[in-house]
Amino acid sequence: MIEVEQLTKSFVVRRGRFRRERHVVEAVKDISFRVDRGELIGYLGPNGAGKSTTIKMLTGILVPSSGRVSVLGLDPSRRRVELARQIGAMFGQRVQLWWDLPLRDSFELLRHIYKVPLDRHRASLDRFRGVLDLDPFLDTPVRQLSLGQRIRGELTAAMLHGPELLFLDEPTIGLDVVAKQRVRDFLVEINREDGVTVMLTTHDLGDIERLCNRLLVIDHGSLIWDGGIPELKERYGAERTLIVDLEEPGPPLELEGARVERIDGPRQWLRFRGSASELTTRVVQSARVLDLQIAEPDIEEIVRRIYTGNSRT
């Protein structure tokens, strides 16, 4: 569905007030990847890493400086109109609905912009009204909607014309827990049931962990990870944590193959690699232990490690 080969986008930036110097900034450097039908793919990276720039080149907003992009077999910037009919796009920080009009009227205008037949429009709108619970605010002007309501409206707007590929740029930004969950459920549903391929950028690792079966990580314009989440944990998160509750507070436990990371009263956190059973046996032999638990590394920590590791090199 998406093929990207050695894609680069550079911007010319002028700095300085009087003697203006030209700097070429490469927002995206030489990245390549492909996305197959039915994937739900997460695109992750710190601010300014090049996530949005990539999405904008895939949707035909920006013209690449070099490299090749093909989305649904089309060159996005040259066949923009054709592509736009077949993809959906939502930018969490932009308002795509008509600000002063009721939500319902925005949908009606979009129906005409995308030339969707009335019966198909009705059917999909009815469905999204149910899934995203739009009815309570369907007749409210967009400017009066809460962020959560507006995002539900924006998602509907992006999906109403039945695209097979959906791009989301930070869809859950600023949402509360309940609203986030609703958006995630919706994305899972359209991906599983309608087979819509979804590519989303996010800062929210919860989105990634609950939604995506594949992850792309970009930093300083370069792609530094492309693969599944278990593999990512395997590679960057080989260290696990053993949490030990001692009978009474004591000095840090000294054990081979593990180091104490933190102490809080009788509780100690030990980082280790390898077999957990071997370590627990040794812990129990060397101290009086009330309880033990093992914590898997969470993705947030892994990503932090990737970013910092990458900026050191």
Partner: protein, 261 residues
């Protein structure tokens, strides 16, 4: 489609009725002041070159009506730099319609209808006080000049708006050509210095908006002695201007840089 999009805008503008009425009154008055200035000039002189007050009023009315119509349809292009700066042009680009069409249909300054009305008032006054020997050709040239002028004005605006793709802030520069241009088109072309005439006639084709058609309709000899065929070429100039504007726009869109986010 244009009617639907614009209809939606007008509906939302009408939600603020009082401000709509004030705006409409304001824009009527502002454009009327332009005309008062012309009357003031003629209070002191009887002729501008070979033009008397009624003839200048006729020229003024043509320019005012066509400019007001342009303003009505695409006047909101003066806020286009803002759209570019905020990166909201992204949204235009992900929809399956022409970009220029979407930008133009995004607003409709219905309050500026008052300006059209003002132009019509002056035109009626001019036609009433002038004795024009109407011929079929004169009617045709007059009627053809109105849409041609709107297209020429629009093309200038579109080219001006394109500057925003590079500077992200060329608003005032553009206004010099649009609002500045219309004011110049309200006066007889032959009163300007030669360099200015060349600029207005052939670089920015404002002279074709009203001056040449007005000469023909009024049956005046061209004081500059230019070929009389120029009186008839306004529609062709309009077509050329539209093509140039379309190409400039397409070129500019490919240089859109969006905004961070």
């Amino acid at each position: 489609m244009w009617r639907r999009l614009v209809g939606a805008q007008v509906r939302s503008q009408l939600q603020y009725r009082r401000s709509f009425a004030l705006d409409a009154f304001g824009s009527f008055w502002i454009s009327f002041v332009d005309f008062l200035i012309i009357l003031t000039i003629f209070h002191n002189v009887s002729h501008l070159n070979a033009w008397n007050v009624h003839e200048v009023a006729f020229l003024y009315a043509l320019s005012a009506i066509t400019f007001a119509l342009t303003d009505l349809f695409i006047g909101h292009l003066d806020q286009f730099p803002q759209l570019i700066r905020d990166g909201n042009f992204d949204i235009v680009l992900v929809r399956p319609r022409g970009t220029l069409f979407q930008v133009v249909a995004a607003d409709f300054a219905s309050r500026r209808l008052a300006r059209v009305l003002q132009g019509v008032v002056v035109l009626v006054y001019a036609l009433w006080s002038l004795t024009i020997h109407w011929t079929v050709w004169r009617v045709i040239v007059l009627l053809a000049s109105l849409p041609s002028a709107v297209v020429i004005f629009s093309s200038i605006w579109v080219c001006g708006a394109c500057i925003a793709f590079w500077t992200t802030d060329g608003g005032e520069f553009t206004n010099a050509f649009t609002y500045g241009g219309t004011t110049m088109a309200q006066y007889p072309f032959d009163i300007y210095a030669t360099w200015l005439r060349r600029l207005l006639g052939f670089v920015i084709p404002l002279a074709f908006v009203c001056y040449f058609p007005a000469l023909f309709v009024l049956g005046k000899p061209d004081p500059l002695g230019l070929p009389r065929v120029l009186d008839f070429v306004s529609p062709a100039v309009a077509l050329a201007a539209a093509i140039v504007a379309g190409l400039v726009w397409r070129f500019a869109v490919r240089h859109y840089r969006s905004a961070g986010g």
